[in-house]
Amino acid sequence: MDLIIPGSGLIIWQIIGFGILLFILGKFAWKPILSALDERETAIEGALKAAENARNEMANLKAENEKLLQEARLERDQILKSATETSAKLIEEARTEASKAGAKLIEDAKAVIETEKKAALAEVKNQVATLTLQVTEKLLRKNLEDDKAQKELVQEFVKDLKLN
Protein backbone atom coordinates (compact mmCIF):
# COMPACT_ATOMS: atom_id res chain seq x y z
CA MET A 1 0.00 0.00 0.00
CA ASP A 2 2.76 2.45 0.78
CA LEU A 3 3.67 2.34 -2.91
CA ILE A 4 0.77 4.69 -3.68
CA ILE A 5 0.96 6.80 -0.53
CA PRO A 6 3.24 9.72 -1.23
CA GLY A 7 5.95 10.28 1.36
CA SER A 8 5.77 13.71 2.93
CA GLY A 9 9.54 14.19 3.01
CA LEU A 10 9.95 13.41 -0.66
CA ILE A 11 7.11 15.80 -1.54
CA ILE A 12 8.80 18.61 0.36
CA TRP A 13 12.18 17.89 -1.23
CA GLN A 14 10.59 17.60 -4.64
CA ILE A 15 8.82 20.95 -4.23
CA ILE A 16 12.07 22.57 -3.14
CA GLY A 17 14.20 20.87 -5.78
CA PHE A 18 11.83 21.35 -8.66
CA GLY A 19 11.01 24.87 -7.57
CA ILE A 20 14.67 25.85 -7.53
CA LEU A 21 15.20 24.12 -10.86
CA LEU A 22 12.23 25.95 -12.34
CA PHE A 23 13.53 29.27 -11.04
CA ILE A 24 17.19 28.85 -12.01
CA LEU A 25 16.55 27.32 -15.40
CA GLY A 26 13.71 29.71 -16.18
CA LYS A 27 15.76 32.74 -15.26
CA PHE A 28 19.26 31.84 -16.41
CA ALA A 29 19.01 29.00 -18.90
CA TRP A 30 15.84 28.91 -20.97
CA LYS A 31 15.76 32.64 -21.55
CA PRO A 32 19.21 32.84 -23.19
CA ILE A 33 18.72 29.57 -25.04
CA LEU A 34 15.31 30.51 -26.40
CA SER A 35 16.38 34.02 -27.31
CA ALA A 36 19.53 32.66 -28.98
CA LEU A 37 17.36 30.24 -30.94
CA ASP A 38 14.97 33.01 -31.90
CA GLU A 39 17.83 35.23 -32.93
CA ARG A 40 19.40 32.50 -34.97
CA GLU A 41 16.10 31.65 -36.60
CA THR A 42 15.52 35.24 -37.62
CA ALA A 43 19.12 35.48 -38.81
CA ILE A 44 18.74 32.33 -40.88
CA GLU A 45 15.39 33.48 -42.20
CA GLY A 46 16.89 36.83 -43.12
CA ALA A 47 19.84 35.15 -44.79
CA LEU A 48 17.56 32.86 -46.73
CA LYS A 49 15.40 35.75 -47.78
CA ALA A 50 18.47 37.72 -48.82
CA ALA A 51 19.73 34.75 -50.81
CA GLU A 52 16.34 34.40 -52.45
CA ASN A 53 16.32 38.10 -53.27
CA ALA A 54 19.84 37.88 -54.63
CA ARG A 55 18.86 34.92 -56.76
CA ASN A 56 15.81 36.73 -58.07
CA GLU A 57 17.88 39.81 -58.77
CA MET A 58 20.44 37.68 -60.51
CA ALA A 59 17.73 36.07 -62.62
CA ASN A 60 16.33 39.49 -63.40
CA LEU A 61 19.75 40.76 -64.32
CA LYS A 62 20.35 37.77 -66.49
CA ALA A 63 17.02 38.19 -68.18
CA GLU A 64 17.74 41.86 -68.66
CA ASN A 65 21.16 41.07 -70.05
CA GLU A 66 19.60 38.56 -72.37
CA LYS A 67 17.08 41.13 -73.45
CA LEU A 68 19.75 43.74 -73.96
CA LEU A 69 21.82 41.27 -75.92
CA GLN A 70 18.80 40.38 -78.01
CA GLU A 71 18.10 44.02 -78.63
CA ALA A 72 21.69 44.66 -79.48
CA ARG A 73 21.65 41.77 -81.88
CA LEU A 74 18.47 43.02 -83.49
CA GLU A 75 19.89 46.48 -83.76
CA ARG A 76 23.07 45.17 -85.25
CA ASP A 77 21.10 43.18 -87.79
CA GLN A 78 19.04 46.20 -88.57
CA ILE A 79 22.08 48.41 -88.91
CA LEU A 80 23.75 45.88 -91.14
CA LYS A 81 20.66 45.53 -93.20
CA SER A 82 20.18 49.24 -93.59
CA ALA A 83 23.87 49.66 -94.34
CA THR A 84 23.68 47.09 -97.09
CA GLU A 85 20.59 48.72 -98.39
CA THR A 86 22.18 52.14 -98.29
CA SER A 87 25.30 50.96 -100.01
CA ALA A 88 23.28 49.17 -102.65
CA LYS A 89 21.25 52.27 -103.17
CA LEU A 90 24.36 54.41 -103.30
CA ILE A 91 25.93 52.12 -105.82
CA GLU A 92 22.76 52.15 -107.84
CA GLU A 93 22.56 55.89 -107.65
CA ALA A 94 26.19 56.25 -108.59
CA ARG A 95 25.63 53.95 -111.48
CA THR A 96 22.63 55.81 -112.79
CA GLU A 97 24.38 59.10 -112.19
CA ALA A 98 27.40 57.88 -114.06
CA SER A 99 25.39 56.53 -116.93
CA LYS A 100 23.40 59.76 -117.03
CA ALA A 101 26.56 61.80 -117.01
CA GLY A 102 28.03 59.56 -119.68
CA ALA A 103 24.97 59.95 -121.82
CA LYS A 104 25.04 63.69 -121.38
CA LEU A 105 28.72 63.77 -122.19
CA ILE A 106 28.10 61.80 -125.32
CA GLU A 107 25.22 64.09 -126.21
CA ASP A 108 27.31 67.15 -125.61
CA ALA A 109 30.11 65.67 -127.60
CA LYS A 110 27.68 64.92 -130.38
CA ALA A 111 26.36 68.46 -130.29
CA VAL A 112 29.85 69.89 -130.26
CA ILE A 113 30.78 67.61 -133.07
CA GLU A 114 27.69 68.71 -134.93
CA THR A 115 28.47 72.40 -134.48
CA GLU A 116 32.10 71.81 -135.24
CA LYS A 117 31.04 69.90 -138.25
CA LYS A 118 28.72 72.68 -139.33
CA ALA A 119 31.41 75.29 -138.65
CA ALA A 120 33.88 73.23 -140.57
CA LEU A 121 31.46 72.83 -143.42
CA ALA A 122 30.79 76.55 -143.42
CA GLU A 123 34.50 77.20 -143.37
CA VAL A 124 34.99 74.75 -146.14
CA LYS A 125 32.19 76.45 -148.14
CA ASN A 126 33.70 79.86 -147.54
CA GLN A 127 37.08 78.57 -148.44
CA VAL A 128 35.65 76.93 -151.54
CA ALA A 129 33.83 80.13 -152.41
CA THR A 130 36.94 82.24 -151.89
CA LEU A 131 39.00 79.76 -153.87
CA THR A 132 36.41 79.68 -156.56
CA LEU A 133 36.35 83.46 -156.66
CA GLN A 134 40.12 83.61 -156.83
CA VAL A 135 40.18 80.95 -159.53
CA THR A 136 37.42 82.68 -161.36
CA GLU A 137 39.19 86.02 -160.97
CA LYS A 138 42.39 84.51 -162.30
CA LEU A 139 40.54 82.81 -165.09
CA LEU A 140 38.69 85.94 -165.97
CA ARG A 141 41.79 88.03 -165.84
CA LYS A 142 43.52 85.64 -168.15
CA ASN A 143 40.55 85.54 -170.55
CA LEU A 144 40.05 89.27 -170.63
CA GLU A 145 43.64 90.23 -171.27
CA ASP A 146 42.84 91.37 -174.87
CA ASP A 147 40.35 94.04 -175.70
CA LYS A 148 38.47 92.04 -178.13
CA ALA A 149 37.52 89.47 -175.60
CA GLN A 150 36.53 92.26 -173.24
CA LYS A 151 34.32 93.87 -175.79
CA GLU A 152 32.68 90.63 -176.59
CA LEU A 153 31.93 90.01 -172.90
CA VAL A 154 30.56 93.44 -172.41
CA GLN A 155 28.45 92.96 -175.41
CA GLU A 156 27.19 89.75 -174.06
CA PHE A 157 26.33 91.38 -170.69
CA VAL A 158 24.57 94.19 -172.32
CA LYS A 159 22.63 91.76 -174.43
CA ASP A 160 21.63 89.94 -171.32
CA LEU A 161 20.61 93.19 -169.71
CA LYS A 162 18.45 94.17 -172.55
CA LEU A 163 16.75 90.95 -172.56
CA ASN A 164 16.01 91.41 -168.89
Binding site: D2, L3, I4, I5, P6, G7, S8, G9, L10, I11, I12, W13, Q14, I15, G17, F18, I20, L21, L22, I24, L25, G26, F28, A29, W30, K31, P32, I33, L34, A36, L37, E39, R40, A43
Partner: protein, 342 residues
Protein backbone atom coordinates in the same frame (compact mmCIF):
# COMPACT_ATOMS: atom_id res chain seq x y z
CA UNK B 1 19.76 10.33 -33.38
CA UNK B 2 17.82 7.04 -33.18
CA UNK B 3 20.97 5.06 -33.81
CA UNK B 4 22.74 6.86 -31.01
CA UNK B 5 19.89 6.12 -28.62
CA UNK B 6 19.94 2.51 -29.69
CA UNK B 7 23.65 2.19 -29.05
CA UNK B 8 23.46 3.91 -25.70
CA UNK B 9 20.48 1.87 -24.63
CA UNK B 10 22.15 -1.36 -25.59
CA UNK B 11 25.24 -0.42 -23.64
CA UNK B 12 23.12 0.58 -20.69
CA UNK B 13 21.24 -2.69 -20.79
CA UNK B 14 24.37 -4.72 -20.90
CA UNK B 15 25.81 -2.75 -18.03
CA UNK B 16 22.66 -3.08 -16.03
CA UNK B 17 22.48 -6.78 -16.64
CA UNK B 18 26.03 -7.28 -15.56
CA UNK B 19 25.49 -5.33 -12.40
CA UNK B 20 22.04 -6.56 -11.49
CA UNK B 21 22.94 -10.16 -12.01
CA UNK B 22 26.00 -9.70 -9.86
CA UNK B 23 23.87 -8.00 -7.24
CA UNK B 24 20.99 -10.33 -7.01
CA UNK B 25 22.74 -13.54 -7.78
CA UNK B 26 24.53 -13.36 -4.49
CA UNK B 27 22.06 -11.48 -2.35
CA UNK B 28 19.19 -13.84 -2.86
CA UNK B 29 21.07 -17.02 -2.08
CA UNK B 30 20.47 -16.70 1.63
CA UNK B 31 16.84 -15.61 1.30
CA UNK B 32 13.90 -17.96 1.29
CA UNK B 33 11.74 -18.81 -1.71
CA UNK B 34 9.47 -15.78 -1.31
CA UNK B 35 12.40 -13.48 -0.74
CA UNK B 36 13.76 -14.19 -4.19
CA UNK B 37 11.53 -11.55 -5.75
CA UNK B 38 11.33 -9.24 -2.78
CA UNK B 39 14.00 -7.03 -4.29
CA UNK B 40 11.52 -5.86 -6.89
CA UNK B 41 9.27 -4.00 -4.49
CA UNK B 42 12.30 -2.94 -2.51
CA UNK B 43 13.70 -1.27 -5.61
CA UNK B 44 10.42 0.35 -6.59
CA UNK B 45 9.93 1.95 -3.19
CA UNK B 46 11.86 4.63 -1.45
CA UNK B 47 14.52 3.72 1.06
CA UNK B 48 16.67 5.26 3.76
CA UNK B 49 19.82 3.71 2.36
CA UNK B 50 21.13 3.32 -1.15
CA UNK B 51 21.87 -0.31 -1.70
CA UNK B 52 24.00 -1.05 -4.76
CA UNK B 53 25.15 -4.63 -4.50
CA UNK B 54 25.78 -7.48 -2.12
CA UNK B 55 28.74 -9.80 -2.52
CA UNK B 56 28.31 -12.72 -0.19
CA UNK B 57 27.83 -11.01 3.17
CA UNK B 58 29.31 -7.66 2.17
CA UNK B 59 26.71 -5.04 1.39
CA UNK B 60 27.72 -2.20 -0.89
CA UNK B 61 25.49 0.47 0.53
CA UNK B 62 25.48 4.22 0.75
CA UNK B 63 24.05 5.24 4.11
CA UNK B 64 21.85 8.30 3.77
CA UNK B 65 21.13 11.00 6.31
CA UNK B 66 17.92 10.78 8.29
CA UNK B 67 16.57 14.25 8.99
CA UNK B 68 13.63 14.69 11.32
CA UNK B 69 11.90 17.90 12.18
CA UNK B 70 9.62 18.15 15.17
CA UNK B 71 8.25 21.19 16.97
CA UNK B 72 9.79 20.32 20.32
CA UNK B 73 13.18 18.95 19.30
CA UNK B 74 13.86 21.02 16.16
CA UNK B 75 15.93 19.47 13.37
CA UNK B 76 17.64 16.17 14.16
CA UNK B 77 20.14 14.59 11.77
CA UNK B 78 21.19 10.94 11.99
CA UNK B 79 22.85 8.48 9.70
CA UNK B 80 20.68 5.66 8.45
CA UNK B 81 23.25 3.25 9.93
CA UNK B 82 22.17 4.44 13.39
CA UNK B 83 18.92 2.58 12.84
CA UNK B 84 20.58 -0.60 11.60
CA UNK B 85 21.74 -3.70 13.39
CA UNK B 86 25.55 -3.74 13.27
CA UNK B 87 25.70 -7.42 12.35
CA UNK B 88 22.87 -7.96 9.88
CA UNK B 89 22.53 -4.38 8.63
CA UNK B 90 18.78 -4.75 8.91
CA UNK B 91 16.62 -1.79 9.95
CA UNK B 92 14.54 -1.91 13.11
CA UNK B 93 16.96 -0.63 15.75
CA UNK B 94 15.54 2.14 17.91
CA UNK B 95 17.54 5.36 18.05
CA UNK B 96 16.55 8.49 20.01
CA UNK B 97 12.89 7.50 20.01
CA UNK B 98 12.66 6.62 16.30
CA UNK B 99 12.99 3.44 14.33
CA UNK B 100 12.76 2.43 10.67
CA UNK B 101 10.31 -0.40 10.07
CA UNK B 102 10.58 -3.31 7.68
CA UNK B 103 8.95 -1.23 4.92
CA UNK B 104 11.76 1.32 5.19
CA UNK B 105 9.50 3.89 6.82
CA UNK B 106 10.54 6.07 9.72
CA UNK B 107 8.30 5.79 12.76
CA UNK B 108 8.37 7.25 16.23
CA UNK B 109 8.34 4.83 19.14
CA UNK B 110 5.81 7.11 20.75
CA UNK B 111 2.82 6.79 18.39
CA UNK B 112 1.32 10.16 19.30
CA UNK B 113 4.48 12.07 18.46
CA UNK B 114 4.16 14.49 15.51
CA UNK B 115 7.21 15.06 13.34
CA UNK B 116 8.17 15.56 9.71
CA UNK B 117 10.49 13.08 8.07
CA UNK B 118 12.79 15.20 5.92
CA UNK B 119 15.35 12.45 5.38
CA UNK B 120 17.54 12.42 2.34
CA UNK B 121 16.12 9.14 1.13
CA UNK B 122 17.28 7.27 -1.94
CA UNK B 123 14.81 9.22 -4.08
CA UNK B 124 15.83 12.55 -2.60
CA UNK B 125 19.46 11.68 -3.35
CA UNK B 126 18.37 10.74 -6.84
CA UNK B 127 16.52 14.04 -7.10
CA UNK B 128 19.71 15.87 -6.18
CA UNK B 129 21.64 13.90 -8.81
CA UNK B 130 19.04 14.70 -11.46
CA UNK B 131 19.05 18.32 -10.31
CA UNK B 132 22.83 18.64 -10.56
CA UNK B 133 23.08 16.78 -13.86
CA UNK B 134 20.31 18.86 -15.39
CA UNK B 135 21.88 22.11 -14.25
CA UNK B 136 25.26 20.99 -15.57
CA UNK B 137 23.82 19.86 -18.89
CA UNK B 138 21.67 22.89 -19.53
CA UNK B 139 24.23 25.40 -18.39
CA UNK B 140 26.88 23.80 -20.62
CA UNK B 141 24.45 24.39 -23.44
CA UNK B 142 23.87 27.97 -22.31
CA UNK B 143 27.62 28.56 -22.26
CA UNK B 144 27.80 27.28 -25.81
CA UNK B 145 25.06 29.69 -26.89
CA UNK B 146 26.77 32.60 -25.17
CA UNK B 147 30.11 31.80 -26.77
CA UNK B 148 28.73 31.11 -30.20
CA UNK B 149 25.34 32.76 -30.52
CA UNK B 150 24.77 32.40 -34.26
CA UNK B 151 26.68 29.23 -35.09
CA UNK B 152 25.45 25.67 -35.14
CA UNK B 153 25.11 24.09 -31.69
CA UNK B 154 28.11 22.15 -30.46
CA UNK B 155 28.64 19.56 -27.74
CA UNK B 156 25.88 19.38 -25.14
CA UNK B 157 23.97 22.14 -26.89
CA UNK B 158 23.49 19.86 -29.88
CA UNK B 159 21.68 17.38 -27.61
CA UNK B 160 19.70 20.01 -25.76
CA UNK B 161 18.71 22.06 -28.78
CA UNK B 162 16.59 19.50 -30.66
CA UNK B 163 14.68 18.77 -27.46
CA UNK B 164 14.20 22.46 -26.72
CA UNK B 165 12.98 22.99 -30.27
CA UNK B 166 10.72 19.96 -29.99
CA UNK B 167 9.13 21.22 -26.78
CA UNK B 168 8.79 24.73 -28.16
CA UNK B 169 7.54 23.89 -31.66
CA UNK B 170 5.67 20.62 -31.16
CA UNK B 171 4.30 21.03 -27.66
CA UNK B 172 4.12 24.67 -26.60
CA UNK B 173 3.27 26.42 -29.87
CA UNK B 174 0.42 24.24 -31.15
CA UNK B 175 -1.21 23.67 -27.75
CA UNK B 176 -0.89 27.02 -26.05
CA UNK B 177 -1.12 29.34 -29.02
CA UNK B 178 0.20 32.89 -29.20
CA UNK B 179 1.05 33.06 -25.48
CA UNK B 180 3.38 30.10 -25.64
CA UNK B 181 6.48 32.13 -24.81
CA UNK B 182 5.40 32.63 -21.23
CA UNK B 183 4.98 28.92 -20.58
CA UNK B 184 7.80 27.43 -22.63
CA UNK B 185 10.33 27.66 -19.75
CA UNK B 186 7.97 25.74 -17.47
CA UNK B 187 7.29 23.09 -20.09
CA UNK B 188 11.00 22.78 -20.87
CA UNK B 189 11.87 22.34 -17.20
CA UNK B 190 9.20 19.73 -16.67
CA UNK B 191 10.17 17.89 -19.85
CA UNK B 192 13.86 17.79 -19.06
CA UNK B 193 13.28 16.89 -15.42
CA UNK B 194 11.02 13.97 -16.26
CA UNK B 195 13.19 12.79 -19.14
CA UNK B 196 16.33 12.92 -17.03
CA UNK B 197 14.57 11.22 -14.11
CA UNK B 198 13.15 8.52 -16.36
CA UNK B 199 16.43 7.82 -18.11
CA UNK B 200 18.55 7.90 -14.98
CA UNK B 201 15.99 5.63 -13.32
CA UNK B 202 16.86 3.00 -15.91
CA UNK B 203 20.52 3.04 -14.91
CA UNK B 204 21.19 -0.04 -12.82
CA UNK B 205 21.31 0.73 -9.14
CA UNK B 206 19.50 4.02 -9.59
CA UNK B 207 16.37 4.99 -7.74
CA UNK B 208 12.89 4.98 -9.19
CA UNK B 209 12.43 8.74 -8.91
CA UNK B 210 9.82 9.54 -11.55
CA UNK B 211 8.03 6.31 -10.72
CA UNK B 212 7.40 7.57 -7.22
CA UNK B 213 3.93 8.89 -6.58
CA UNK B 214 5.17 11.73 -4.37
CA UNK B 215 7.28 13.06 -7.23
CA UNK B 216 4.62 12.70 -9.90
CA UNK B 217 2.04 14.21 -7.57
CA UNK B 218 4.23 17.23 -6.95
CA UNK B 219 4.82 17.70 -10.66
CA UNK B 220 1.09 17.39 -11.30
CA UNK B 221 0.38 19.99 -8.62
CA UNK B 222 2.84 22.34 -10.28
CA UNK B 223 0.93 21.95 -13.53
CA UNK B 224 -2.35 22.41 -11.66
CA UNK B 225 -1.21 25.74 -10.28
CA UNK B 226 0.39 26.75 -13.56
CA UNK B 227 -2.94 26.10 -15.29
CA UNK B 228 -5.36 27.61 -12.82
CA UNK B 229 -3.31 30.61 -11.75
CA UNK B 230 -3.06 31.62 -15.39
CA UNK B 231 -6.67 30.82 -16.26
CA UNK B 232 -8.41 33.74 -17.94
CA UNK B 233 -11.98 34.96 -17.57
CA UNK B 234 -13.33 32.70 -20.28
CA UNK B 235 -11.74 29.67 -18.69
CA UNK B 236 -13.32 30.34 -15.31
CA UNK B 237 -16.62 31.26 -16.90
CA UNK B 238 -16.49 27.93 -18.64
CA UNK B 239 -15.95 26.19 -15.32
CA UNK B 240 -18.46 27.96 -13.08
CA UNK B 241 -21.12 28.93 -15.65
CA UNK B 242 -20.64 27.00 -18.85
CA UNK B 243 -22.04 29.19 -21.63
CA UNK B 244 -24.92 27.89 -23.69
CA UNK B 245 -26.05 25.35 -21.13
CA UNK B 246 -29.56 25.63 -19.64
CA UNK B 247 -29.76 26.28 -15.90
CA UNK B 248 -30.92 22.83 -14.72
CA UNK B 249 -28.06 21.23 -16.60
CA UNK B 250 -25.61 23.63 -15.02
CA UNK B 251 -26.27 21.94 -11.70
CA UNK B 252 -24.72 18.83 -13.19
CA UNK B 253 -22.13 20.40 -15.48
CA UNK B 254 -20.54 22.75 -12.97
CA UNK B 255 -19.62 20.06 -10.41
CA UNK B 256 -18.28 17.94 -13.25
CA UNK B 257 -16.19 20.85 -14.48
CA UNK B 258 -14.88 21.49 -10.98
CA UNK B 259 -14.02 17.83 -10.51
CA UNK B 260 -12.40 18.03 -13.93
CA UNK B 261 -9.98 20.66 -12.64
CA UNK B 262 -8.60 18.05 -10.28
CA UNK B 263 -8.87 14.94 -12.42
CA UNK B 264 -6.56 16.47 -14.99
CA UNK B 265 -3.51 16.70 -12.72
CA UNK B 266 -4.58 13.44 -11.08
CA UNK B 267 -4.38 11.72 -14.45
CA UNK B 268 -0.96 13.27 -15.01
CA UNK B 269 0.22 11.97 -11.67
CA UNK B 270 -1.07 8.45 -12.13
CA UNK B 271 0.06 8.10 -15.75
CA UNK B 272 3.69 8.88 -15.09
CA UNK B 273 3.81 6.91 -11.88
CA UNK B 274 2.24 3.81 -13.41
CA UNK B 275 4.20 3.89 -16.65
CA UNK B 276 7.59 4.17 -15.01
CA UNK B 277 6.91 1.88 -12.07
CA UNK B 278 5.40 -0.78 -14.32
CA UNK B 279 8.45 -0.64 -16.57
CA UNK B 280 10.78 -1.16 -13.64
CA UNK B 281 8.66 -4.00 -12.32
CA UNK B 282 8.66 -5.75 -15.70
CA UNK B 283 12.44 -5.52 -16.06
CA UNK B 284 13.06 -6.67 -12.50
CA UNK B 285 10.53 -9.48 -12.88
CA UNK B 286 12.43 -10.87 -15.82
CA UNK B 287 15.60 -10.72 -13.77
CA UNK B 288 13.71 -12.29 -10.85
CA UNK B 289 12.71 -15.20 -13.07
CA UNK B 290 16.37 -16.19 -13.23
CA UNK B 291 16.52 -16.66 -9.47
CA UNK B 292 13.13 -18.32 -9.25
CA UNK B 293 13.96 -20.94 -11.87
CA UNK B 294 17.70 -21.12 -11.22
CA UNK B 295 18.22 -22.29 -14.78
CA UNK B 296 20.71 -21.17 -17.38
CA UNK B 297 18.13 -21.42 -20.18
CA UNK B 298 15.75 -19.11 -18.35
CA UNK B 299 18.71 -16.87 -17.58
CA UNK B 300 19.58 -16.44 -21.23
CA UNK B 301 15.97 -15.95 -22.28
CA UNK B 302 15.35 -13.45 -19.49
CA UNK B 303 18.49 -11.55 -20.34
CA UNK B 304 17.38 -11.19 -23.94
CA UNK B 305 13.95 -10.06 -22.80
CA UNK B 306 15.44 -7.59 -20.34
CA UNK B 307 17.53 -6.04 -23.09
CA UNK B 308 14.48 -5.57 -25.26
CA UNK B 309 12.35 -4.23 -22.46
CA UNK B 310 15.11 -1.85 -21.54
CA UNK B 311 15.03 -0.53 -25.09
CA UNK B 312 11.28 -0.15 -24.83
CA UNK B 313 11.69 1.55 -21.47
CA UNK B 314 13.99 4.13 -22.98
CA UNK B 315 11.27 4.81 -25.50
CA UNK B 316 8.72 4.96 -22.68
CA UNK B 317 10.99 7.34 -20.77
CA UNK B 318 10.91 9.77 -23.66
CA UNK B 319 7.21 9.21 -24.41
CA UNK B 320 6.16 9.78 -20.82
CA UNK B 321 8.21 12.97 -20.59
CA UNK B 322 6.56 14.06 -23.85
CA UNK B 323 3.06 13.08 -22.73
CA UNK B 324 3.33 14.79 -19.35
CA UNK B 325 4.60 17.96 -21.01
CA UNK B 326 2.05 17.72 -23.82
CA UNK B 327 -0.90 17.39 -21.42
CA UNK B 328 0.45 20.18 -19.24
CA UNK B 329 0.64 22.34 -22.34
CA UNK B 330 -2.90 21.37 -23.36
CA UNK B 331 -4.31 22.23 -19.93
CA UNK B 332 -2.47 25.54 -19.90
CA UNK B 333 -3.61 26.14 -23.46
CA UNK B 334 -7.24 25.62 -22.45
CA UNK B 335 -6.81 28.01 -19.54
CA UNK B 336 -5.31 30.83 -21.59
CA UNK B 337 -7.23 30.35 -24.85
CA UNK B 338 -8.76 33.61 -26.04
CA UNK B 339 -11.64 32.18 -28.05
CA UNK B 340 -14.18 29.71 -26.88
CA UNK B 341 -14.18 26.72 -29.18
CA UNK B 342 -17.46 25.30 -27.93
Amino acid sequence: MFRKILCISTLLSVFMLALSTATFASSEVEGGEENKTGFIMHHIKDSHEWHFATFGHTHVTLPLPVIIYSADRGVEVYSSTDFQDHETHAFGVEHNGYYINEHDKLHAVDESRSYIDLSITKNVAMLIIVFVLLLWMIFSAVRNYKRNPHGAPKGIASIVEPMVLFVRDEIAKPNIGPKYRKFTPYLLTIFFFILMGNLLGLVPGAANLTGNIAVTATLAVFTFFMTNLNGNKEYWKHVVATPGVPLPLLLVIVPVEIIGLFTKPFALMVRLFVAITAGHIVILSFIGLIFVFESYAVGVASTVMVVFINLIEILVAAIQAYVFTLFSAMYIGQAVAEHDHH
